[in-house]
């Protein structure tokens, strides 16, 4: 390119990898350089077509099974058991969980509400990853998912698809947090899964707070009488982005 900026700076700006000063400087440059603006659009279009193509390849079940089997030969992992030998046990266990709520997280007396919420949300996320537990209604159509919740919950969760922004809606299901029935929306993110738990709250709007727990990221916020908690093993920045989409 004839512009004196190197492609590297352009890419670093595009990837949010410039520091604040560098980014501001480059933005000033963008105001007068149509070439860089065009190149930036090119990168954006490459990224969005890669997002649409969903190139991420998740581990085949056969690999997961082999790894689990080798890791704990003496004590087969629950997943392997559930899938191969004792399917009825898995079904019974999940029924029990659905009836009683999930209390595996080890709460300590000093735990604050925030970390209790994170523990419950991460547990709910992990539980949803068990085979057959992810979605009750499997649809990428928000107009299918939204009515599905009618009559199952005492509130109407905001159901939106963000496929064109890199977060395709994959479905929804009922779940439980704090012992109450809540809505869980499932989004794809580069073939990672994000659970967004939604329930009504009487508390006022709150900006997002989050953290990581057991290797999973969580982000919680309140808006318009609803509380949202997103959980995933994707990068924290992805949850920030999804939160912004929800509040747009």
């Amino acid at each position: 390119m004839s512009c004196e900026r190197t492609d590297t700076v352009l890419d670093a700006y595009f990837d949010n990898e410039l520091d604040a000063i560098g980014a501001a400087e480059f933005e000033r440059h963008l105001e007068q350089c149509s070439e860089c603006v065009k190149a930036l659009e090119g990168l954006e279009s490459l990224r969005s077509s890669m997002n649409r193509a969903q190139l991420y390849e998740t581990a085949p079940p056969s690999l997961r099974k082999r790894v689990l089997a080798v890791l704990s030969p003496a004590r087969p992992a629950p997943g392997v058991l559930a899938r191969t030998r004792w399917p009825w046990l898995a079904i019974a266990a999940s029924l029990l969980l659905a009836l009683t709520g999930w209390q595996v997280a080890s709460f300590h007396p000093g735990d604050n509400p925030e970390s209790m919420l994170a523990a419950e949300a991460v547990d709910a996320h992990l539980r949803s990853l068990q085979p057959g537990h992810l979605t009750d209604v499997l649809s990428s159509d928000q107009h299918t998912v939204k009515p599905w919740f009618d009559g199952k919950l005492d509130f109407a969760p905001p159901v939106r698809d963000f496929a064109d922004r890199g977060f395709p809606l994959e479905g929804g299901r009922l779940d439980a947090i704090h012992g109450r029935a809540i809505a869980a929306l499932v989004y794809g993110r580069r073939k990672h899964l994000v659970n967004v738990f939604i329930w009504p709250t009487s508390e006022s709007d709150a900006s997002p707070r989050g953290g990581s727990r057991q290797g999973y990221q969580w982000l919680d916020w309140r808006r318009g009488g609803m509380e949202f908690c997103a959980v995933s093993d994707t990068a924290p920045a992805d949850l920030d982005q999804l939160q912004r989409l929800f509040t747009e």
Binding site: D11, S49, L63, R190, T234
Partner: protein
């Protein structure tokens, strides 16, 4: 491994199995090799786990996956898999420009194009765009300085764009 480490491993490392497989799949360009290499990398990470003292567990695992895959490529003498010699002798392994053009489907087109990038370009794209890694993480995974990561990623994107825009220029792009 003692039960406590075992539990930590299952909690910290296992959730990144998808990431491990995804990187192996793209580095080895699919096939059963990718599954075997990902499994080998998981077992290696299990053996080395006592040497992991906190930090970015995904980057740590992906570094092992990458090393496993490159060893794999060397073993099967595919490390120079993108040379013209290899392309001519194994026309099926790498899609021809015509094949890319004909594959109208966006996913197929992109995955063909990505598969025909040289491995170090491909891994930069996969880590950044598919895995969402930061430059710092990519630098750690590939054991290269940040500056090199930046320029590699930038060149990889330009080459990918070139191939998608005008597949006939793929040959020219290879010489960059």
């Amino acid at each position: 491994m003692d039960p406590e480490d075992q539990a930590r491993f299952e909690m910290l490392v296992l959730p990144h199995l998808d990431a491990a497989y995804n990187l192996a799949r793209w580095l080895l360009r699919g096939g059963p090799d990718a599954e075997d290499a990902a499994q080998e990398a998981m077992l290696r990470s299990y053996r080395f786990f006592h040497g992991f003292h906190g930090g970015d567990v995904r980057a740590w695992l992906l570094q092992i996956v990458r090393n496993t895959c490159y060893t794999w490529l060397e073993k099967t003498r595919k490390v120079k898999d993108m040379t013209e010699f290899d392309e001519q002798s194994h026309p099926g392994a790498s899609p021809t420009p015509e094949a890319i053009a004909i594959a109208g489907d966006n996913r197929q087109r992109l995955s063909h194009a990505l598969d025909s990038l040289p491995p170090h370009y491909r891994e930069a794209i996969v880590l950044r765009e598919l895995e969402g890694c930061s430059y710092k993480e990519i630098a750690a995974i590939t054991s290269t300085p940040m500056g090199t990561v930046m320029s590699t990623l930038s060149r990889a994107r330009r080459q990918l764009q070139l191939m998608l825009r005008d597949p006939a220029r793929e040959e020219a792009a290879h010489e960059l």
